[in-house]
Symmetry: C2
Subunit: 210 residues, 2 copies
């Protein structure tokens, strides 16, 4: 396996976190190159699209979080072999990317502008995404989003919904998730209890405290 | 095969066009449900995310253009079997989605706001995308973007670059493409000459004139 270096913010969330989880799930060693937000202006200069995450593999720089999740997801056994299940998996991944981009567009706003943008987001795109996820989980026979097994889509949805539930986004109340998507909350609890993820976060806590 | 209905604007471009091309390439019959921009306000109400394209397959509504391109791309033989080639293919697809979203964000602007946004786009994100594509085409042994054969990424990049070259975007000069990405122009000429695409557009012209 190539040497792998992931560069992303020093947060356990966002577009970098699913890649970390999937690499860890696959048991693939990688350099987890975390940097503080204060260094983003410098870090981004060296990336192809002035964005993170990027992954360096034997010198090649690869961008785009969903593409990377899919690649490592295949190695981790977290990507469906069945074409229709793969379509549903990919769709959910892209749905979360779409709404993530809409959140990111509000990060530089302040005061009333932030409040108005976040409320518009909550009452429109975010509501649509949560309702759609609720329906997908409701319609699922397995409880997973795509096919009969856990996939990268379940992990990515969980990372996103967890961030909503944490209350970290001003003017976006966690109660919105409980109201619109109670089955998605159950789904998230199921993901959080996956032994591979429990193991990852217990190790992560140790490394943070060491 | 399921009955397939694609709903998208009545334009030979944007996020719907690669799906049409890939379905046609695969020889899959589908209902090409085109609507004029003036009907978008009505059409979007019936879609999960108030966005198009959507594809209906035997009653199920599937969203997200790249997910759909990948699914139909597998059926068309336009998606790499090799995992690393698939990663590069997916990356290029997501790069074009990213820049497309940035263009779409300018569509509602007018006057100086439009001019300023488009110039910022041309001098930043678009420049990065064109330079990156130029490097990828330059580095390619086959002349295709991902692996040794034409893939959905080549088609999607072509649809996007063709729209730039058409001059349809105010304040974005087609000369930018020739200056920053001459090899991408060559790549696009190669895509345009693919017999399956030539056939598709000659039939399309006939249907438009009939």
């Amino acid at each position: 396996m190539a040497t792998i270096k992931l560069t992303y913010f020093d947060v356990d969330g966002g577009r970098g976190e699913p890649i970390r989880l999937i690499l860890s799930w696959a048991g693939i060693d990688f350099e987890d190159n975390r940097f503080p937000f204060s260094e983003f202006a410098e870090v981004r200069k060296k990336t192809p699209f002035k964005q993170v995450p990027i992954v360096e593999m034997d010198g090649a720089v690869i961008t785009q979080t969903n593409a990377l999740c899919r690649y490592f997801g295949k190695l981790a056994g977290l990507y469906p072999d069945n074409d229709m299940a793969a379509l549903l998996c990919d769709e959910a991944m892209d749905v979360i990317e779409d709404i993530t981009a809409k959140f990111v567009a509000t990060f530089s706003l302040k005061g009333d502008d932030l409040k108005q943008s976040r409320e518009t987001l909550a009452d429109g795109p975010l509501k649509h995404v949560l309702s759609w996820l609720e329906q997908r989980v409701t319609d699922s026979n397995s409880g997973w989003l795509a096919g009969g097994e856990v996939t990268i889509a379940d992990l990515k949805v969980w990372v996103f919904v967890r961030s909503l539930l944490s209350g970290q986004f001003d003017h976006i109340s966690p109660t919105l998730v409980f109201e619109l998507a109670p089955k998605v909350v159950e789904h998230c609890n199921k993901v959080a209890a996956l032994p591979k993820l429990v193991e990852y976060y217990s190790k992560r806590k140790l490394s943070e405290n060491s």
